[in-house]
């Protein structure tokens, strides 16, 4: 499994993703610049967080139209693993690979803290290893998941809600941003493409305060057996 970490101008979790996947999960990883037109030699894609192109238009809207995204669409269609975290989730929605959109948090402020998540559907490669509630950091100003009622019904009905925000064991608050149905992450129909607002790449070693992110990122390795 060789994973491409995409780099757009303004990406700022690209290096974190590379180190998490390479140092902590032992995967082969390389950066792919946004202007590239081929993902030859790679088996999976990580679309990192940050503020691609400054997010001066809608979040992720510019990046979704970058040359490299045609290859990401091909990967998605071929059933290869594609994950987008935070700005990466926004980009995948803007690219039409996932339904819905991420808009300004209900509180109108950027929120950086830990949240608790529950894997709703456990059949996808990304959720199979998540057997218990997990704790991951969030850091976003526009992470409130919204979509059309019919899309929401379909996503819910088809078991494509990957993760929901839940209250922590200490009784802490659940949904941090007002997302519909407490949705933190969604899957494409085939389940190989995951977008989520929390940052699994920020929770891959104990010294960072948690390792639950590994349970999600292990989805890349699931490809070997599935």
């Amino acid at each position: 499994m060789r994973v491409a970490v995409l780099r757009f101008p303004g990406s700022n979790c690209d290096q974190d993703a590379l180190h998490a996947l390479q140092d902590d999960l032992g995967l082969k990883v390389g950066y792919v610049w946004h202007t590239e037109t081929s993902l030859a030699g790679y088996d999976g894609v990580f679309v990192p967080g940050g503020f691609s192109y400054g997010d001066y238009l809608r979040c992720g809207a510019m990046a979704a139209r970058a040359p490299v995204m045609d290859e990401v669409r091909r990967f998605a269609a071929e059933g290869r693993p594609v994950i987008g975290a935070c700005n990466g989730f926004q980009i995948l929605c803007e690219a039409g690979l996932l339904p819905g959109a991420l808009v300004a948090n209900e509180g109108q402020k950027f929120v950086c803290r830990d949240v608790w998540l529950e894997a709703v559907d456990r059949t996808s490669r990304w959720t199979r290893g998540v057997e218990r509630p997990i704790r991951l950091p969030i850091a976003h100003g526009e992470g409130r998941y919204v979509c059309e009622p019919e899309d929401l019904a379909r996503v819910e009905g088809e078991g494509r809600v990957a993760f929901r925000y839940v209250g922590g064991p200490d009784g802490g608050p659940g949904n941090p941003n007002g997302s519909m149905d407490d949705i933190a992450g969604v899957l494409n129909p085939a389940g190989n493409v995951l977008g989520l607002m929390p940052h699994p790449e920020r929770a891959t070693k104990a010294i960072l305060g948690g390792t639950d992110g590994r349970l999600v990122l292990a989805g890349f390795q699931m490809a070997l057996v599935s």
């Binding site: 101008p9 180190h19 610049w33 940050g50 400054g54 950027f110 929120v111 100003g141 960072l208 305060g209």
Partner: protein, 756 residues
């Protein structure tokens, strides 16, 4: 060439004597562009003309000025071939008139200061001061304005820092009426570099190309540095065009492009375009290298047509750098910047001597670079001890009733200056770069675990304007001791300091006295604790029609943990035991309540003087903490500071959600009144928590004169503390509510007003 009249140069803040000096240095009257360049380079912000004699108290500064220059003096070696650079920069005046952009560009500027040394910026901290934000603590319109400034400054820091991908890992915020007209916004940045990659800002190599890097130049921020060097007045809102506009997206690209370009080895020297942009970068790079430069302004990338030489040289457009490349290798630099969609344009070259600048083929500047950087005459200012200071020493507690300890504690917890800053830190990305291992609020300092080393870096910034106001020398000592103690409470050994010195108009004798005495205190403490001041910033003229600010030096300290995994939080846990470490100290007639938060918040009194720390004892305390952390003897540590011992215990209880039953030893240096024992601000006290039965090991682990006594155990849902002469018992839930809801409650009306 227009005739320079006195009104013109005076309007730019240049005195008659300084103008005469300019004419003498040039051998002729300056051109308009030259005059503008002198006005910014000779402003206090750039020249330190008022503060230089006092800054010489800092040993590294003195040695650097006398020796080879400041830049390399700022690198602190931490082992594994790595070095740390750090610096504080103020952006007070821009933030007073345009809080979002003022704060944002303050963050951007300090990040470029670190970048320009060849370091990757790995953490930011912010030290903020505002006027009161609670109803009734000032006129309604003043409170509303303070809330607006506070809210927008925090958003500006977050808006820039979050996007640029540098985690904001710490800082502090406090409130006082004296900051109402003139908030303080100091940003600190920490960078990490390989010691073999330290860059220079000294241009060299006649014929080498001078490259302009980054964003295009517009008309924004012209005379920002001069604006920073004058008093805010009623017309300050008219200065909004002086405030620069930040583009964190461009800065993120600039960071990556610059580090990539430096890695090619094609860059000879580099400097950011800070205050006065092209003026400071060209004059300072040429002067540092002892060379000249020939610059053609027609080649500068511009955001609009028809900009004059004056505007181009004085623009403070953000996200720009200037570098000298080795002739023949400049294309390597250009290619990197093109990849990141940034400008990289040759605008001139290095010459033997003299700074010669052309616009439309005309020579508009022709002067030695040193005239701008070193020609500025030092102002000889005199300080005078103010009357209030003499009285503060004589202050006595007689007649001040003792507040019920539980009520007093809740009052302190709910005071915005002391309350939880979670409302602030939650708006900052604290974890990007995935090196943050102790978050703001979880420990006394933030701890980073940088990749490439197993060591940990602890960073904290601290300052208390009330202490410094009432005793500038002791306040200076305390600022260093506090920040260093915060770092030590994570188990790190303090290694270096940086400072942001914020004062009123230094031409006022009492202000200059406050400045001189507090800097002396900072310098003496740094010397005694072995934490050299490696960089710093001076901000004068912090006053408005509402008065001058409290003298507010902010001190940032960096420390090193040999093993990042051994960091200590400030949270105890169920089942742990709790003890007190202290350095013996006489608490005197004011019993640690002089200049205290308790007197201010519970009695409305700001008088008396703070207790000065025993620096040799503090050093032994820090070493004790480092050893106890390394041995794994203790699990948490939290220093006693504003609000005293009771407040420190309350923070530990709230942080972990568990109470404790404690007996405070009579041998601790805590005064005789119950309120002094609970709320006295006695330096050299640290609360430690440790696994059951570790008490004797703690006692055996301390060094020097440091004393230890067990106090009790963690558990239950109340904080119950028996002091020698009093007691308190409050439910942790009530403590948490007061502590956590103070700032959100104060800021709530703002949101409603905005929504209405």
């Amino acid at each position: 060439m227009p005739v320079i009249v006195a009104e013109l140069y005076r309007s730019l803040g240049i005195t008659d004597a300084e103008y005469a000096k300019i004419v003498e240095l040039l051998g002729r009257p300056p051109s308009e562009t030259e005059l503008g360049m002198f006005s910014v380079q000779w402003s206090e912000h750039c020249s330190y003309k008022c503060s230089r004699p006092v800054l010489a108290y800092f040993r590294r500064y003195r040695e650097a000025v006398e020796g080879e220059g400041l830049e390399n003096a700022g690198v602190v070696e931490i082992g594994d071939g790595l070095g740390v650079v750090m610096k504080v920069e103020s952006h007070n005046h821009p933030s007073a008139v345009e809080p979002y952009q003022g704060a944002a560009t303050g963050v951007g500027g300090i990040i470029r200061d670190i970048l320009t040394m060849g370091a990757r910026p790995i953490a930011a901290l912010d030290s903020l001061r505002f006027g009161p934000i609670r109803d009734g603590e000032a006129a309604p319109e003043v409170v509303a304005r303070n809330r607006y400034l506070f809210g927008r400054v925090v958003e500006g820091i977050g808006g820039y820092g979050n996007c640029v991908g540098v985690p904001t890992v710490g800082g502090e915020v406090s409130f006082h009426p004296r900051y109402s007209g003139n908030p303080l916004v100091n940003a600190m940045c920490v960078g990490l570099l390989r010691l073999d990659q330290v860059t220079t800002a000294g241009a060299a190599g006649v014929g080498n190309p001078v490259l302009y890097l980054g964003s295009a130049t517009g008309k924004d921020g012209i005379h920002g540095a001069s604006f920073a060097s004058e008093v805010l007045g009623e017309d300050s809102d008219a200065k909004r065009p002086n405030v620069q506009i930040g583009d964190p997206f461009a800065e993120k690209a600039l960071i990556e492009a610059t580090l990539e370009a430096l890695a090619t080895g094609a860059v000879q020297s580099i400097q950011d375009m800070g205050a006065a942009g092209l003026t400071c970068s060209t004059t300072e790079m040429a002067a540092k290298g002892g060379v000249g430069m020939m610059i053609d302004l027609d080649l500068v990338p511009m955001r609009e047509e028809g900009m004059t030489a004056y505007e181009l040289m004085l623009s403070e457009s953000q996200e720009r750098m200037l570098c000298v490349a080795y002739r023949g290798r400049e294309q390597e630099v250009v290619d990197v910047f093109r990849k990141w969609d940034l400008h990289a344009v040759e605008i001139g070259q290095v010459t033997e001597s003299g700074l010669v600048i052309r616009r439309h083929g005309q020579v508009v500047v022709d002067a030695p670079a040193e005239a701008f950087t070193e020609g500025c005459p030092v102002r000889d200012l005199r300080g005078e001890e103010p009357e209030y200071h003499r009285r503060a020493r004589e202050f006595r507690l007689d007649g001040i009733p003792e507040t019920d300890l539980g009520e007093g504690l809740l009052t302190l917890l709910a005071a915005p200056s002391l309350a939880s800053k979670g409302w602030v830190t939650e708006q900052y990305d604290q974890q990007v770069q995935t090196q943050t291992t102790l978050l703001p609020g979880d420990g006394d300092a933030a701890v980073l675990a940088p990749r490439g080393t197993g060591r940990g870096l602890a960073v904290a910034i601290d300052g208390n304007g009330r202490w410094v106001y009432l005793d500038p020398y002791a306040g200076g000592l305390l600022a260093v001791a506090e920040a260093a103690r915060n770092v030590a409470c994570t188990g790190a050994r303090p290694r270096a300091a940086t400072d942001g010195l914020n004062f009123g108009d230094p031409n006022q004798p009492h202000v200059f006295w406050q400045f001189e005495r507090s800097v002396r205190g900072i310098a003496d403490a740094c010397e005694a604790l072995g934490v050299p001041v490696v960089s710093g910033n001076v901000s004068f003229y912090n006053e408005s029609e509402l008065g001058e600010v409290l003298p507010t030096p902010m001190v940032g300290v960096m420390g090193v943990l040999e093993d990042a995994g051994q960091r200590l939080s400030s949270r105890w846990a169920e089942g742990m035991e709790v003890g007190l470490l202290w350095v013996p100290l006489e608490t005197g007639p004011q019993q640690g309540l002089g200049a205290s938060s308790y007197l201010a918040e519970c009695h409305g009194i700001e008088d008396g003087v703070p207790l000065a720390p025993d620096l040799a004892g503090e050093a032994e305390l820090f070493e004790s903490l480092a050893r106890l952390a390394e041995q794994g003897t203790i699990g948490a540590a939290h220093d006693v500071s504003e609000g005293g011992l009771a407040f420190a215990l309350a923070e530990m209880a709230v942080g972990s959600g568990v109470g404790a039953e404690l007996d405070v030893p009579a041998s601790a240096p805590l005064g005789s009144r119950a309120d002094a024992q609970a709320f006295g601000e006695v330096p050299g006290l640290v609360v430690v928590a440790y696994p059951k039965g570790h008490g004797p090991r703690v006692e055996g682990g301390v060094v020097g004169r440091v004393r230890f006594a067990p106090m009790g155990r963690v558990g239950g849902d109340r904080l119950e503390v028996v002091f020698p002469n009093g007691r308190l018992s409050v439910a942790v839930h009530n403590l948490a509510q007061a502590y956590r809801e103070a700032i959100p409650a104060a800021m709530q009306p703002t949101r409603e007003q905005e929504g209405a």
